[in-house]
Amino acid sequence: MSAETETSSRVATRTYKPAMPAGWWLRKGHYFWYMVREFTALPLALWLLWLLYEIQRAGRGPSGYYPPSSTPFVVFSVICLLFALYHSITFLRLAGVILHFKVMDKPVPSGLVVASQFGAWLVASIVIGAVLIGFGR
């Protein structure tokens, strides 16, 4: 059968395509936590913008610079920290799904990949913390 004949022999059928509701992410816990994971990038971005502003302020010299210490700023920073931790933990856990490699022709278990990611995160945090505290003294 030629393409034209095949097309013309098809009976046009009217279908109904339901629209995706705006609240689709409230249908299931899985969808909701996915949205939370994606949303956590927003407060992190805001905090980093604030950090850029502080660097620009500190660039004027030590005289007259004072670090922000108001209660709202501390609360904002703690909330951002919680979001950052959630984002980091979910991101590193997903590394076990994404990274796939073999050692001695055997696939490395995803649990080991995730553990190595968390280990690297811990080491990096300790090094950065030590550098910041060292420079602060």
Binding site: T15, Y16, W25, K28, Y34, L99
Partner: protein, 246 residues
């Protein structure tokens, strides 16, 4: 002892009469604990309302025909037991994210086109003569792609994927998982032919890793894993000079 009964609500849509789908309620006997949702639909069709339309075939979780949304979750209706819902009621709607043709039947055309686009077969640069023997594989080589070859094309993953729901140009979970199945097969040499489709902006990069596709898969395939691993592989191929080698 009173007969156990269960209320089943099913989507009805007649394209010749209805402007939009509606739910119709049926009160049917729940006579046997081994009854599945598909049995309930078959009971309705045989004893209550013969005009109810839905797809089914094997009744044993192999053909992938009877996928529908049961109480909001994409399921193979032949594997969803009534006892898991009773004494509550059951609402059966067509698979989300697909156009409804009639009642519980959806239009599969878009999925079929996507499946075809990733060339789900072994591609060889040059076929070996039959006399040269089999393409032998080790168990480790088979393990590389085995889980991705379990897909039965039931489309539950597409129904669970909000990315596909929001933008149906997305290649989708099953097609990408199947592409990965062939790309990982040691006998296959067709990765370069599949790359333009899977590495396209409507391919793996459209996915934001919701992960629900892997949750609903009735065969234990992990399409989310296939997609993320393909993202990594295509990036490596792009960045590293040796990446474009076969």
């Amino acid at each position: 002892m009173a007969e156990k009964r269960i209320t089943v609500r099913a989507t009805r849509f007649d394209p010749a009469k209805d402007s939009e789908p509606r739910l119709q309620s049926y009160d049917i006997p729940f006579s046997d604990d081994s009854m599945v949702v598909l049995d309930a639909l078959n009971y309705i069709k045989s004893h209550v309302d013969g005009s109810l339309s839905y797809r089914w075939s094997c009744r044993m979780g192999i053909c992938g025909s009877c996928g529908m949304t049961v109480n909001g979750t994409p399921k193979l209706t032949c594997s969803a037991f009534l006892r898991d819902y009773w004494p509550g009621s059951i609402t059966i709607t067509p698979l989300n994210n697909f156009p409804i043709v009639r009642d519980l039947v959806v239009d599969m055309e878009d999925f079929m086109e996507k499946l075809k686009s990733i060339k789900p077969w072994i591609i060889r640069k040059q076929e070996m003569p039959l006399g040269a023997g089999e393409h032998r594989q080790t168990m480790e080589q088979i393990d590389d792609f085995r889980q991705f070859s379990q897909c039965i094309n039931c489309m539950l993953c597409y129904a669970a994927c909000p990315v596909y729901g929001l933008d149906d140009k997305f290649l989708g979970p099953a097609a990408i998982a199947l592409a990965r199945r062939y790309n990982l097969d040691s006998r296959d040499q067709g990765t370069k032919e599949r790359l333009p489709v899977i590495a396209h902006s409507d391919g793996v990069w459209e996915c934001s890793f919701v992960g629900e596709c892997s949750v609903v898969c009735p065969k234990g395939v992990d399409p989310a894993k296939a997609i993320q691993q393909t993202k990594l592989d295509t990036s490596v191929r792009f960045i590293l000079p040796y990446g474009n080698r076969e």
